[in-house]
Amino acid sequence: MSDLPLPSSGLTLADLHGDPRRVRTERIVKAVLTAATAVSILISAGIIWSLARETFTFVTEVEWSTVLFAKGWFPRQGVYDIRTIFVGSLWVTVIAMAVAVPVGLGSAIYLSEYARPRVRRILKPTLEVLAGIPSVVLGFFALSVISPSIVQRFTNAGLFNLTAAGIGVGILSIPLVASVSEDALRSVPQALREASYGMGAKKITTVTKVVVPAAVSGLVAAFILAVSRAIGETMVVFIAGGAAGNQGFEGNPLEPGLTMTAAMATQAQGTDQVVGEALTFQSLYFVGALLFAVTLVLNLVADRFVRKVRQAY
């Protein structure tokens, strides 16, 4: 005790302060990390700035009758009928959801409620592999298998059509729906299931009447995220959708068509500069801004639903 050099007096605040070199290192490290975090804010600002300038030019200078009342999406000729690509996106999204929601939700319920851990360990990677398949590969698949063997078998559609593209986008969205839904289902407390069994309910009753309703906000989030994903998906539609801009408002999913994303890719592809009419280049930004706004709103809404699940349990 006595040989501890305790300064009985003269201990100042400065003595408690760390070694100045370490303090300085600490400050530098913190500054570097803060700067790295600021990058993501800069990216958001960059996206909005990139979109805003040319979109503003387009919105202020375009002849609005060519946007709202003309027929077809031919930006190189100055015809920007927004309905054509909007309806195209709508069809692809509806078809994609018709595939992804039942399959993804069914997979999630099985994995969360029925599968034994060992079965789960074998089946779950299937979805992870599917999630890792790049979208260009699904585009090739839509064109080489889905369109000839499914769509053309039951209809008289041509090889390039929006239905095959929509099914392809749906397959891409299955893992997303499945993983978000499974998280929601697994976060339902075990006590609810036990209470249900305790009342004598069968497994199917417990699952459909107790677990699924309890997880509903997470399932809604899964649905919205999948819609957002489907709207933003480019390559499948670009490859298998046929890139035809002449559909207009009455869009037929068995015909070739364009979505907002595929319209942008088509416009950017092949040419050195995006040229044509005076506002052709700006129309690219206009569509991009629309796309950004739609997906942003969807993602924010989905985020709110996910939060709700976390708060409830």
Binding site: A36, G106, P125, A265
Partner: protein, 316 residues
């Protein structure tokens, strides 16, 4: 004394009797059908994968078995029989380099800041929401960002429509994924490790360097590898950053950095272009290029998944 054997032989019967008592003797047909339907929906994914792999391999394997060398070393051509994917592999390789060089350090640094330094408050929440929204922005919108900033505004640095512009754009595209997965890995580090560090007088950055990062490393690497796989398969933004699908001059080697300011192509772009061509032979070379890309992407994904499973097991 015959008690155990009685239970043994009668166990089956006893269980059935109890079950009949509880269910009133009815078999749960609806429940069984429901279960089969659920299993079928999982089967859809499995079937799609099986058909997809079969289709790609059966369409593309001839190219790889008859002229693998000229296909892997050749350049873009207008005729399917002579076209190759060397330039595409080169472009994809450099995009991967850009992702590792930019997205990995910035992503990990920002994950560490968010989890270890940031005080939980309004600002942290805004940054968090911002990052998750960035992860949901459609890839082609990142193409617009790349076109405006890296192709047009920073033309002097990147050379305009170039491999560098595309590489940086894709690094930005996957940055949110790196941040989110790394932040999860950092969050999973037990607090006792940090407290032990502080207890012996370490500063925050020392705790991060000696305790947090080593423990979180497998998770961080998993996230980075997944992000890399995502970037390698991404095509849409490349169109806006100047990817070439026709003829691409230039015969630089794989590692020659002089190509960074030049026009480029990449595997997914080549695949998209060849898939859409109706002429004979293009579906085959598209499928062959898909085989090459899938081998790269799926190998990365399996490494990431295996790594994660291994460390999850070790810790539990």
């Amino acid at each position: 004394m015959a008690l155990p054997s009685t239970i043994g032989s009668g166990g089956q019967l006893a269980r059935r009797t109890v079950r009949d008592q509880l269910t009133g003797g009815r078999s749960d047909a609806a429940g069984r059908i429901f279960r089969v339907l659920l299993l079928l929906s999982l089967g859809v994914s499995l079937a799609v994968l099986a058909i997809l792999f079969y289709d790609v391999v059966s369409t593309g394997s001839t190219v790889l078995s008859t002229r693998a060398e000229s296909f892997l070393s050749g350049g873009l051509r207008q005729t399917a029989a002579r076209a190759g994917i060397f330039q595409a592999i080169r472009g994809t390789f450099w995009i991967g380099v850009f992702v590792v060089v930019f997205a990995f350090p910035i992503g990990v640094a920002s994950a560490v800041y968010l989890e270890e330094y940031a005080t939980k408050g309004r600002l942290a929440r805004i940054i968090d929401v911002n990052i998750r929204n960035l992860a949901g922005v459609p890839s082609i919108v990142y193409g617009i960002l790349g076109l405006t900033i890296f192709v047009q505004q920073l033309k002097g640095v990147t050379g305009g429509r170039s491999l560098m512009a595309a590489g940086i754009t894709l690094a930005i595209l996957v940055l949110p994924i790196v941040i989110i997965t790394s932040a999860e890995a950092v969050r999973a580090v037990p607090n006792s490790l940090r407290e032990a560090g502080y207890g012996v007088g370490a500063t925050r950055s020392e705790v991060v360097r000696t305790q947090v990062l080593p423990y979180a490393l497998p998770g961080i690497i998993t996230g980075t590898v997944l992000a890399l796989a995502r970037a390698i398969g991404e095509a849409a933004p490349l169109y806006l950053c100047g990817a070439i699908t026709g003829l691409l001059p230039g015969k630089e080697g794989l590692l020659d950095p002089s190509q960074l300011k030049e026009k480029f192509t990449a595997l997914p772009v080549v695949i998209a272009e060849w898939s859409r061509r109706p002429q004979d032979g293009f579906a085959e070379i598209a499928a062959a290029a898909i085989i090459v890309m899938l081998i790269i992407v799926l190998a990365m994904n399996s490494v990431a998944i295996a790594l994660r499973t291994r460390y999850e097991k070790k810790r539990n």
